[in-house]
């Protein structure tokens, strides 16, 4: 028994499992309460209190919502492709959760430190496109199909600009590892050196997660509910959960890349994760703020923005960063 406990492989598996368990439960809890926070923030911005009946000031609302979703009847349309219909919601949630394994929450609290961490995040968002495409197609519904097609075209168009906007950060760090990127920001966060890349990243993050003002393919007043028209009960719940988890994951990546991750003054190493969550909360609030402030973009405006404005801007950012770094190195 003692040999088993000393075995480094066993320790790796055990501690990884502990971290994964903590992160998964924490993430699910945060996501549920983020949905409540969004509704309350939306309410306040619209001059009303938001949900406040279930529990003190509405704090038990997420639990009520989850229980309601479990007990709702589910309709699978008659000619739908059953297997893919069932897989699509799972595909919405799994990439968002797995992307969290590289996020450095505190100085020693990362599930794992891959030396291609950022690429894992990009790979997972590429897989996330399938959830939308398959969900729309498998429903055998014209509106879901169109919504899924338009939504996935939007997601892949903005994925380009998102990937390119992170290149500047990589040039400054010299490594794809997220832990290295955070360590490189010990003195100053990269947002000071890459302001344009930060703005591009946030805009593309809004489009990647299908949040307003880029939520035309799934907005209530358009195309019914887009690709998740025919989904009900917990399958819809998983799509919803996947969308909000995506928001938190992308905001965590933005925090790590541009705002310095867990770096911050006055706190000892063991408490530095508080800085991480504070920065994350600011970015998530920004997402909610944008949703209830701007009108929705029309689809052609959306695609024009992604291809004709953000793509050349992010390439220009790469070249300018390269020139600036070279000039500063060899002055």
């Amino acid at each position: 028994m003692k040999d088993l406990l000393q075995n480094p492989d066993f320790q790796l598996v055990f501690w990884s499992f502990v971290k994964i368990f903590v992160i998964l439960n924490g993430l699910l809890g945060v996501v549920s309460y983020m949905i409540l926070a969004e509704r309350k923030v939306a309410g306040r911005m619209q001059g009303r209190p938001g949900p406040n009946r279930v529990g003190p000031a509405g704090t038990l609302q997420p639990i009520a919502d989850v229980i309601k979703l479990f007990f709702k009847e589910e309709f699978i349309p008659a000619a739908a492709n059953k297997v893919i219909f069932n897989i699509a919601p799972a595909l919405a949630v799994i990439p968002a959760l797995v992307s969290f394994s590289i996020v450095p929450i505190g100085p020693n609290f990362t599930v794992t430190d891959l030396n291609v961490g950022l690429l894992l995040f990009l790979a997972m968002s590429s897989i996330g496109v399938y959830a939308v495409t398959l969900g729309g197609w498998s429903s055998n519904n014209k509106y879901a199909l169109l919504g899924g097609l338009r939504s996935s075209a939007q997601m892949i168009s903005y994925e380009l600009a998102m990937g390119l906007s992170t290149i500047g950060v990589l040039m400054l760090t010299g490594s794809l590892s997220m832990v290295e990127i955070v360590k490189a920001q010990q003195n100053l966060p990269f947002i000071l050196f890459q302001p344009l890349a930060f703005v591009i990243f946030m805009i593309t993050a809004l489009a990647e997660t299908n949040r307003a003002p880029f939520d035309l393919p799934e907005a209530e007043a358009e195309l019914v509910a887009g690709f998740h028209t025919e989904y009900s009960s917990m399958k819809f719940g998983l799509f919803f959960l996947g969308e909000f988890t995506n928001v938190i994951t992308i905001c965590s990546i933005a925090t790590t890349l541009f705002l310095g991750g867990w770096n911050g003054p006055w706190l000892p190493d063991s408490l530095k994760f508080i800085w991480f969550f504070a920065k994350l909360a600011v970015l998530v609030f920004f997402f909610m703020w944008v949703r209830w402030t701007f009108p929705r973009l029309r689809y052609d405006q959306l695609m024009n923005l992604g291809w004709k404005i953000l793509l050349p801007l992010s390439l220009a950012n790469v070249l300018v960063t390269g020139l600036a770094m070279y000039w500063l190195q060899n002055r």
Binding site: D9, V83, A123
Partner: protein
């Protein structure tokens, strides 16, 4: 030991997925099995310490190219195969012959003990990091192929636009007609006449709401407009 178990598991998933790609009837499910084959291939790259290649395999192959395949497969109205019995027999005959040749080749390679396992000890190549190593090699020693790649991508871009545009120009007249019709009110006589000619018109003679927004390219060409990749296969 664990490396071999991992490789065996990933290779099994890869082989089974590849077989199911060709054995499954539904093309969308075949495409999804191909995605899983690419993901397990990425896993095999990871076991060989080629992390950058593994991630790029998922980002580009499984995440971009297969999305293109899925767009085309899902949104085409695939009917039954239109080939004759002779074509099917020829196709299957060639398939069996090619399969036998490949099997003989595989048997030959295994019997001569070629490429049994990695030659270098696995930890030795891990230190500079796969991405950095690729970066240094690609932009110093292999610069010329890299610049040629940009030419290849340029040719692909121009080619795609040329092919897609020639289709679009022919389809645009029908689209313009349809857009103009949808701008008229329902009671206009021109809409009624046009609606009666539509294949999916609502029984009362007005264009159904869904059809105004349907992305039909043209009925006036007398046939479907297919994306460039589909014409050669059938």
């Amino acid at each position: 030991m664990t490396a071999q178990i991992l490789f065996a598991a990933l290779a099994a998933v890869l082989v089974v997925s590849s077989l199911l790609v060709i054995l499954h009837r539904n093309p969308v499910t075949s495409a999804l099995f191909l995605v899983s084959a690419f993901c397990s291939l990425a896993g095999i790259y990871l076991t060989l310490h080629a992390e950058f290649l593994g991630m790029v395999q998922v980002i580009v192959y499984a995440g971009a190219i297969m999305v293109l395949f899925l767009f085309v497969i899902m949104y085409l109205n695939l009917q039954h195969d239109l080939e004759t019995g002779v074509q099917t027999a020829v196709r299957r005959g060639i398939g069996w012959i090619a399969g036998a040749v490949l099997l003989a080749e595989a048997g030959l390679l295994v019997s001569k003990r070629w490429a049994v396992g990695p030659i270098a000890p696995p930890e030795a190549v891990a230190t500079p990091g796969n991405t950095q190593a690729i970066g240094i090699a690609l932009y110093t020693r292999y610069l010329f192929p890299f610049e040629i790649t940009s030419m290849v991508l340029l040719v692909a871009m121009v080619g795609a636009i040329v092919i897609a545009r020639s289709r679009r120009e022919r389809g645009d007249e029908a689209t313009v007609r349809r857009v103009r019709l949808s701008a008229l009110p329902d009671s206009d006589p021109r809409v009624r006449t046009a609606a009666l000619a539509e294949p999916s018109a609502h029984p009362e003679g007005t264009l159904a709401k869904g059809d105004r927004e349907t992305y039909e390219i043209s009925t006036s060409l007398g046939g479907a407009v297919t994306p460039p990749g589909e014409e050669s296969s059938r």
